[in-house]
């Protein structure tokens, strides 16, 4: 056989395909473990010791969360600050806080928030993205949403709104009344507060451009 080309040789392509497939498999398995380590939830001790975790422990609801521009990373990152009262308490234990977050998570699923809202990149864009809703200045002390509910704190205002959303004029697309109870509302607000403390690499991108959303702007 005269001068058979390597390019038309089956064995060359078999070996190349085997190498690429095998290498990609190893890389993806490695990526899976790397990711699970990075998204594992922190603990109360981590928060007290100032250990930075992408997903802080549930007791993060006892702390003030702000959104600050990180020039090094080129986007905003949630910063966990000093203690802050959440529904009148800043001593929620790890068990209590975890229970509250669990209730909020189940509530968000039962009421199907994602039918209209986006949570951590999942859901719809019919209604506002809730990933960083806790940091929205509209719910803050001088915010229009807090003023609308007549409450004095962010968490109470959000809980009040969640229980009677159809009473408050917010947007052309008004939120319907979903029959959320007081307890569920507290859980949902805790769930949202915890979510806002998750380091999402600056997602959603446009949130930091909101007036007053980032500290000092």
């Amino acid at each position: 056989m005269a001068n058979k080309s390597v390019w038309s040789d089956n064995r060359f392509w078999q070996r190349t395909a085997a190498w690429v497939t095998g290498f990609a498999a190893v890389l993806l398995i490695w990526l899976t473990f790397d990711t699970s380590a990075q998204i594992s939830m922190g603990t109360d001790a981590d928060l007290k010791d100032g250990v930075t975790k992408r997903v802080p422990g549930p007791t993060v609801i006892n702390y003030k969360i702000t959104y600050e521009m990180s020039t090094k990373r080129g986007h905003e990152v949630p910063v966990i600050g000093e203690k802050e009262k959440f529904f009148g308490r800043d001593d929620w234990s790890e068990e209590e806080a975890a229970e509250l977050l669990h209730l909020g998570k189940l509530g968000s699923q039962a009421k199907n928030c994602m039918d209209c809202h986006t949570l951590l990149g999942n859901g719809a864009y019919y209604a506002p993205d809730l990933t960083k809703a806790w940091l929205d200045p509209a719910w803050g002390p001088e915010g229009s949403l807090q003023a609308m509910t007549g409450k004095n704190t962010k968490e109470e205002a959000m809980a009040e709104f969640l229980q009677h959303p159809s009473q408050y004029p917010t947007h052309e697309r008004m939120m319907p009344n979903l029959g959320i109870t007081e307890k569920e509302a507290i859980g949902l607000v805790a769930f949202l507060k915890h979510m806002s403390s998750i380091d999402t690499n600056g997602f959603p991108r446009n949130f930091g451009k909101m007036q007053g959303a980032v500290h000092g702007k």
Binding site: V6, D9, T16, F23, D34, R73
Partner: protein, 50 residues
């Protein structure tokens, strides 16, 4: 050309995600370079078969 590591935790995947160049260099190293090596081996094999 090479961006500094900016991820929250320095890791291999954080490095890989820094920009298009790191990914390109990495994929060429692990896919294209071994292909040259496989190519040479197969060429030798075909020549020896003759």
């Amino acid at each position: 050309m090479f961006e500094p590591m900016t991820d929250i935790v320095p890791s291999f995947f954080a490095w890989l995600n820094q920009g298009p160049l790191t990914l390109t260099i990495f994929l060429h190293t692990v896919i294209i370079l071994p292909m040259f090596w496989i190519y040479k081996q197969e060429k030798n094999r075909l020549e020896n078969e003759k």
